[in-house]
């Protein structure tokens, strides 16, 4: 850097160090966001795949009536295309923690099972547990209150106490907190203690190949089993190699990466604006350089090097924190996915992408103003006299009813229209992303809150066996504190498309990918889902059906009036679609009106205020020989949804705050430049009688005018942006766009922040300008 042009570059940077620091901070902040998102996304996706693969998840699970004998299992293992097979059983039981019932999935595994399929890591204790013991999945410990002894209530109502003899990690399951479910691992001997007969009715197989290959092998095996007299009730084949939450994490991190990239573009605009301002001050110098022989390329190269210096400094500043923030985010997401992060190494491609973005974006954005400045002719550069009035405007702007100072401020703001536009773009994008982020977070909360409010029941009890709905209603008529009880039948179903039953994509947790047929009273007073198309069920709609948005996707988005076909308990049912409803917090479901002639219920929904009611109901039912399988309060559903989305909302808010910071830095930079380049003008104002206070107020009014304009545009642009992001996130999470919700807090916060940033930025510049003596200002070049 001994050549004079580089010496000039170095000293110019030092001379404008305040602005240089501002540019570096703006770029570094956005790079930290990008780096963090890239790191988290890369590490989490890699580790999720590795964790999930390490469990050797079953490619498909076939529910075989009567269970799978050892001989049958051996035969299955020798079937073509099947690399491994085992037989297991999953029982849905429940446990009470405090006053709340939780679903409890019991995975029943033979003590001598070689654990080559759907395996888990024993983190504490040993497998197999004794008959009176079980192992808990680690994420269930917190949900269940970290018990040493767990009393499990089996379907049928019989309870048994188990010592928690160990803890396992099963990366194939979504974390217990999100599903509000406990996961226990025990042997058939343990299951017998609950009065249940082990029957190994789940045949789990591993098939190599993609989803089509898995489906084909599973269908082939189901046909072979059926032909051999072993009825297959259902076939489940979740997407191969993909964790139940992986798709969601994949898409949402990509969206957040987009937000972070927008922040970088915003920071690059800050760089371009600031450099543009610095160049405006150096216009004459550019003219001099050209008279001394500097070519446009040399001038451009020097200023590009200046940009590169800023970008490199920001990159160096951001590299460490971005990886640290990324790993912190990785930890949070690992919790979301119940993963063990065994390898935190960040691939070189992440750094390469960060470097490419960090250097490429500022250089690309700055290229336009830099090229324009470098191509300035010597004549116009030497004639440069700083900010001038617009030549196109014939008459001066006057604010109707406004004071002279405000009119003056607006005219000043309009003098540099290009820069004004950039500043407004900066404020608009920053503010729109900020308010858009908060609007989306609000929409998310509103959607969940209002969606759950459409369920007027408080508890749902599933039964161990179907019973008459009329009998249920009659039995519960006298329960104190029960304001409503509604029997319903919930049956696992499979969509049939093109004449072929879809293989269920349900994961082993039974929740992700589930699809149910629900028969309930047509005029149910306990649910009031929003109707998106068509109508809700009517009395007499015996073959009519309403589907929720999840089912609509699975069924190929049929329209009301069309027929839909399901496979339920091995039989095909054809229903006439009458409506599509929006449902929050439930799996894909098809609702039909219960047949009044033969009403059968597998569950009952209860509305009550008294928390002891579900217990009373259970006792009433037990007296009649009807046993509860699970008891699920609606509050648990709310918590489950919250657990799923909380981290995303928090990340969205952090990104929104980042946008706000970059936008505020941009405004500060623009105002600083605007004031600096009019230094001489302030001297002239003072020579004709303006006081320091007048100078200060002029600048502050100007900053406020720009800040307010930027805020208003940002608020307006934030609305369609919120709608777009809400649509994307809503469709991803719930299958429907989120409603457009305007966060009053967010909009007020941005307005206050924008005006505060404008005032702070201009105050600093104004104070500096008003402190200069007239001689200093008039001598300013």
């Amino acid at each position: 850097m001994s050549r004079p042009r580089y010496t000039k570059l170095r000293r110019d940077l030092w001379h404008a160090r305040g602005r240089v620091v501002l540019m570096i901070v703006a770029v570094a902040l956005s790079l930290i966001a990008i780096g963090a998102m890239l790191t988290a996304r890369t590490v989490v996706l890699r580790e999720a795949a590795a964790n999930y693969a390490a469990t050797h998840p079953a490619s498909a699970t076939l529910d075989v009536a009567g269970g799978v004998t050892g001989d049958l299992l051996e035969q299955v293992r020798t079937r073509p295309g099947i690399t491994e097979a085992t037989a297991r059983q999953t029982v849905t039981a429940r446990v009470r923690v405090g006053g709340t019932w939780h679903r409890m999935l019991l995975f029943v595994i033979d003590a001598d099972d070689p654990l080559r399929v759907a395996r888990f890591d024993v983190e504490r204790g040993a497998w197999p547990p004794p008959a009176d013991g079980l192992l808990l999945e680690r994420s269930a410990l917190a949900v269940l209150g970290g018990p040493r002894v767990l009393t499990v209530t089996a379907p049928g109502g019989r309870s048994g106490s188990f010592t928690v003899t160990g803890v396992v990690h099963d990366a194939a399951l979504a974390p217990a907190a999100q599903e509000r479910t406990g996961y226990g691992y025990l042997t058939p001997a343990g299951l017998s203690r609950l009065g249940l007969s082990p029957n190994r009715d789940q045949l789990k197989i591993i098939v190599s190949g993609n989803q089509d290959a898995v489906d084909a092998r599973a269908r082939e095996l189901a046909a072979w089993l059926t032909a051999g007299g072993h009825a297959v009730h259902a076939v489940q084949a979740p997407p191969p190699g993909r964790h139940p939450h992986q798709n969601q994490v994949d898409t949402i991190t990509l969206l957040f990466l987009g937000f972070a990239a927008a922040a970088l573009v915003l920071a690059a605009v800050v760089v371009a604006t600031t450099l543009g301002g610095m160049l405006a001050q150096q216009t004459r110098q550019i003219g001099v350089l050209k008279t001394l022989g500097a070519t446009t390329g040399q001038v451009l190269g020097t200023y590009l090097l200046m940009t590169l210096t800023v970008a490199v400094a920001a990159l160096i500043l951001a590299a460490g924190p971005s990886v640290l923030a990324g790993l912190a985010l990785t930890d949070l997401m690992a919790g979301l996915l119940n993963l063990d992060i065994t390898d935190t190494s960040v691939p070189l491609r992440v750094f390469a992408a960060l470097a490419a973005a960090g250097l490429g974006v500022p250089l690309s954005v700055a290229l336009v103003p830099l090229t324009r400045a470098a191509r300035t002719t010597v004549r116009s550069a030497l004639d440069h006299r700083g900010a001038t009035a617009s030549r196109t405007r014939q008459r001066a702007i006057r604010i109707p009813g406004g004071n002279r100072m405000l009119s003056f401020a607006v005219r000043n703001a309009l003098r540099r229209r290009g820069r004004l536009m950039l500043t407004l773009v900066l404020l608009t994008v920053g503010g729109a992303l900020f308010t858009g982020g908060l609007n989306t977070a609000d929409a998310w909360n509103t959607w969940v809150r209002e969606g759950l409010a459409r369920r007027s029941y408080d508890t749902e009890i599933t039964l161990t066996a179907p019973v008459s709905a009329d009998r249920l209603t009659a039995l519960l008529r006298d329960v104190d504190g029960l304001s409503a009880a509604e029997p319903l039948a919930v049956l696992p179903a499979t969509p049939v498309r093109d004449g072929q039953a879809e293989i269920s994509r349900t994961y082993p947790d039974g929740g992700h990918g589930a699809f149910n047929l629900i028969a309930l009273p047509a005029k149910s007073p306990l649910i009031d889902f929003e109707i998106l198309e068509g109508r809700w069920l009517d009395t007499g709609d015996q073959d009519g059906a309403v589907i929720n948005q999840g089912a609509a996707t699975r069924l190929g988005n049929p329209r009301p009036g069309e027929k839909i076909t399901l496979s339920v308990e091995g039989r095909t049912r054809v229903l006439r679609l009458v409506g599509i409803a929006a449902e929050v917090g439930g799996p894909a479901a098809v609702y039909t009106a219960a047949d009044p002639a033969v009403p059968t219920a597998t569950a009952i929904r209860l509305a009550h205020d008294d928390p002891s009611v579900p217990g009373q109901v259970e006792r009433y039912l037990a007296t009649a020989g009807i046993h509860a399988q699970t008891v699920m309060p609606v509050t648990e559903l709310s918590m489950a949804i919250d657990e799923h989305v909380l981290i995303f909302i928090q990340t969205l808010i952090v990104l929104a705050a980042l946008m706000a910071m970059v936008g505020a830095l941009g405004l500060a930079s623009a105002m600083g430049i605007a004031v600096t380049e009019r230094t001489r003008e302030f001297g002239i104002m003072q020579t004709i009688g303006a006081t320091s206070r007048t100078v200060r107020l002029t600048i502050i009014w100007e900053g406020l005018a720009i800040g307010l304009t930027g805020c208003l545009i940002a608020l307006a642009v934030g609305v369609p942006l919120s709608a777009g992001v809400g649509s994307f996130l809503g469709r991803l999470s719930f299958g429907l766009p989120l409603p457009l919700e305007l966060s009053v807090t967010g909009m007020a916060a941005w307005t206050v922040l924008g005006l505060a940033a404008a005032t702070t930025a201009t105050l600093t510049a104004a104070r500096r300008a008003s402190r200069l003596t007239i001689r200093e200002t008039l001598a300013y070049e």
């Binding site: 010496t7 000039k8 350089l289 008279t291 001394l292 022989g293 446009t296 002719t377």
Partner: protein, 229 residues
């Protein structure tokens, strides 16, 4: 007979203004030989600065031909003008226009850097030699702001000479200096002309007879006196 280093043939320059085209220079002919010191005088708006800008390739003529050091300046593409200017023209401004963040020596080295006329190792010695010639070698490592006006203008002259240009153009080089300092500056220009450089200086000072070989008086865009030697 020495060949002209500057030739203007029928050069006209008009500028568009809101009030209509302004004729800055009207069908002007001029020739300057190497080693000649020409003082250009005239009232404000007479076309002095326009003449200088046309010679330096900063402006292009509306019509006519300009040849400087054997190059048809009016035909040079924009992309080649800068490096041509750096090697052919030394420019001295009224307000010195030294780059404020570079030392005096670095300012002098800058044209050599841009035009690569001297290898890097020779640039500093060359700058020192020029500063010695203009009498401010001891100020070489100071920033321009710490120098007096006269010293800054001497530094600007040293910078203008750094690439050994055949033509030195000065736009009111003493306009910002006291009369004693102005004398020193004119003496430097005269010495440079004596060494073979053509010097064209725009000035308001009409009494440069001691230094300049010829005075051209411009009025309303035309050469009133001094068009020929």
């Amino acid at each position: 007979m020495t060949a002209d280093v500057i030739t203007l043939n029928g050069v006209t320059k008009t500028y568009p203004t809101p009030a209509g085209d302004f004729l800055a220079l009207d069908k002007t002919d001029l020739a300057v030989v190497p080693g000649e010191f020409v003082a250009v005088t005239g009232r404000s708006g007479s076309g002095k600065s326009t003449l200088l800008n046309l010679l330096a390739g900063i402006d292009r003529p509306t019509s006519g031909q300009i040849q400087v050091a054997g190059t048809d300046v009016h035909l040079l593409p924009e992309s080649r003008l800068s490096s041509w200017r750096g090697r052919t023209i030394g420019m001295v401004f009224q307000f010195f226009q030294l780059l404020p963040t570079l030392t005096v020596a670095e300012n002098v080295m800058l044209p050599m850097d841009f035009c690569a006329t001297y290898p890097p190792r020779l640039r500093r010695p060359r700058a020192m030699e020029l500063l010695e010639r203009v009498g401010i070698a001891e100020q070489a490592d100071k920033l321009p702001a710490t120098l007096s006006g006269g010293q800054q203008q001497r530094a600007a002259i040293a910078r203008a000479l750094s690439n050994d240009p055949p033509v030195l153009l000065a736009d009111e080089p003493t306009g910002n200096l006291d009369s004693a300092t102005a004398e020193v500056i004119w003496e430097l220009f005269a010495a440079q002309a004596a060494s073979g450089t053509a010097v064209v200086a725009v000035t308001h000072e009409r009494d440069l007879g001691r230094w300049a070989h010829r005075r051209i008086d411009l009025a309303d865009g035309r050469i009133a006196t001094g068009a020929t030697r």
